[in-house]
Point group: C2
Chain length 324, copies 2
């Protein structure tokens, strides 16, 4: 049984030892650059904890952790083009540092490389691993498309929003854990439970991200507060607010989002006031709690001795902020 620190050390060693310095450099330099930006490597860590939970061999999971991180970063490269995002992890995005064509093509190469790595796992579990990996890849694309559609859509329902974040974010957490379990040759019943556990954790995690964007502590969160409000992003908070708002509050929200002369900080303040009067923070926390409880219930049901479970439990808990 490995501690979180030990698993993180395995991940660091794995990524330190991997090199993508091939030709042409325009294709491979952005891959080295992107992976070099770091990030929390949450998906590899879920994968390894999933593997270790079922007594799998951690070293055999190394190609899979590279695959999942390459896949995730490929989606970021393409998403950043689509969102015209200037920064990623505080550094210039690939399409800005190089250009759009390079970002498209080196993203494609990362996707191919992800399959190169996933194909290097134990052949006996390859079909099962490929199946969840590829289904997830497709769902993540669907999620991104729904997300883009919502930008120009007048009416987005809360269920549609939840389905979008499930596809765009949550399934990849489920996939990471399931891949770990598959590599450990866990029974299908258990790989399915851990997938659902991950999916629910992913939902809770994304909703928390929405909440932190508006109500988080700038220092702890590491991002500017109110970005979602400034960009009029249809988050759970905003959709819930429109659901509960009186006509007067609806007008206030409409005005904030339609009048470009309102300065950003005023807009954030005014929308936050509406959120506060409607108890949006509490509703969001309760939604997070709903997914978190569902995840815990699934986790309890996993047929593994209690003492093996504490690492994944501990890791999951570190992802959630308890104070707002």
């Amino acid at each position: 049984m490995y501690s979180i620190g030990e698993l993180q050390a395995v991940i660091k060693k794995t990524f330190d030892s991997v090199s993508f310095s091939h030709q042409p450099s325009e294709l491979y330099d952005p891959i080295t650059y992107t992976l070099g930006l770091g990030g929390k490597r949450i998906r590899p860590l879920f994968l390894l904890t999933g593997c270790d939970l079922f007594c799998g061999n951690i070293s055999e999971a190394e190609p899979a952790i590279i695959a999942i991180e390459l896949f995730h970063n490929f989606t970021l490269l393409h998403d950043d083009i689509m969102d015209q995002a200037p920064l990623r992890r505080g550094k210039e995005t690939v399409f800005r540092k190089w250009n759009t064509n390079v970002a498209i093509l080196s993203g494609d190469t990362m996707f191919a490389l992800a399959y190169e790595y996933i194909s290097a796992i134990d052949k006996t579990v390859l079909p099962e691993a490929l199946s969840v990996f590829t289904n997830t890849a497709r769902m993540v694309c669907e999620g991104q498309q729904f997300d883009m559609n919502f930008e120009t859509s007048d009416r987005v329902s809360i269920p549609a929003y939840l389905e979008m974040i499930r596809l765009k974010t949550a399934v990849l957490i489920g996939c990471s854990l399931k891949l770990g379990a598959i590599l450990a040759k866990a029974p299908v019943t258990e790989t399915e439970k851990i997938y659902s556990f991950g999916e629910n954790i992913g939902m809770a995690f994304q909703l928390q991200d929405d909440l932190l964007d508006t109500f988080g502590d700038t220092k702890k969160f590491g991002k500017e507060i109110g970005g979602d409000i400034s960009s009029a992003k249809k988050t759970f908070l905003l959709l819930k607010a429109y659901e509960l708002a009186s006509d007067k509050e609806k007008s206030e929200l409409d005005e904030c989002f339609s009048d470009p002369s309102i300065p950003s900080h005023q807009k954030i303040e005014r929308v936050k006031n509406v959120y506060q009067s409607l108890h949006i923070k509490e509703f969001t926390l309760s939604e997070i709690e709903k997914y978190f409880s569902k995840a815990l219930k699934l986790f309890e049901d996993i047929n593994v001795s209690k003492d093996r479970k504490h690492v994944l439990e501990e890791f999951t808990n570190t992802l959630f902020v308890r104070e707002f």
Copy 2:
């Protein structure tokens, strides 16, 4: 043993029966649209002839022919964005008909779908099939990047150009044939020979494409003649011309490609005159012949009775124009 017509019927039936009408429609409609544009389905046909050559079961190859065509079309979707191409097979390209973001993301989805289909083949040959498929995918990306680099590069050598078309075009023909052979459970020695055969055929085919672009018959070729010259594309013809040109001919070429006031038809005429005086057509035909002969030599070496070989031989011959 199937005839070309019979294999084409299998391909038509397979593509007619496949549907990509999922949600969100912005993601899947472009896939249906792209596959609906038709094209000659050359890669599926190579795959099936490769499979039939080694007495494989054609119906088991159906997922693989969808995979190879999805992959090929995914690269076209992304290439068209990078090249800002308005038309593909006489119809609007996806990024023009929808937008760039849709073309990026539905391309990504096609790539994922390609893996979904390739994963559906016989599990005993899956690792081998995945290996050639993924290696090829990466090489095709490398080829496209080299192609883009060459656009802004002053010096492109003929070997570098040949390596670029090998990566961008030829390896996918090799891959198609090899996948067919793998599905037929052909020995590794033979799958490698047929891959090299395909790679050499692919080289000859791409060089012929370069030649037809300048010296082809508009009616037979189906494209406007001289497009490569108008766009100053560094093809084998142009690179060979610069290699052989006298100082006076070099100046003539330089002037044609640097003076934007020269009308396109005059530019084509003047560059063609240089080509003619340098016998570029004959040099290109001889280069095509070199690859074609190498391919035939490899084909002869394939350990299969002569009577099984005539379909693939016949199909290959249909790809080559004998009169210029």
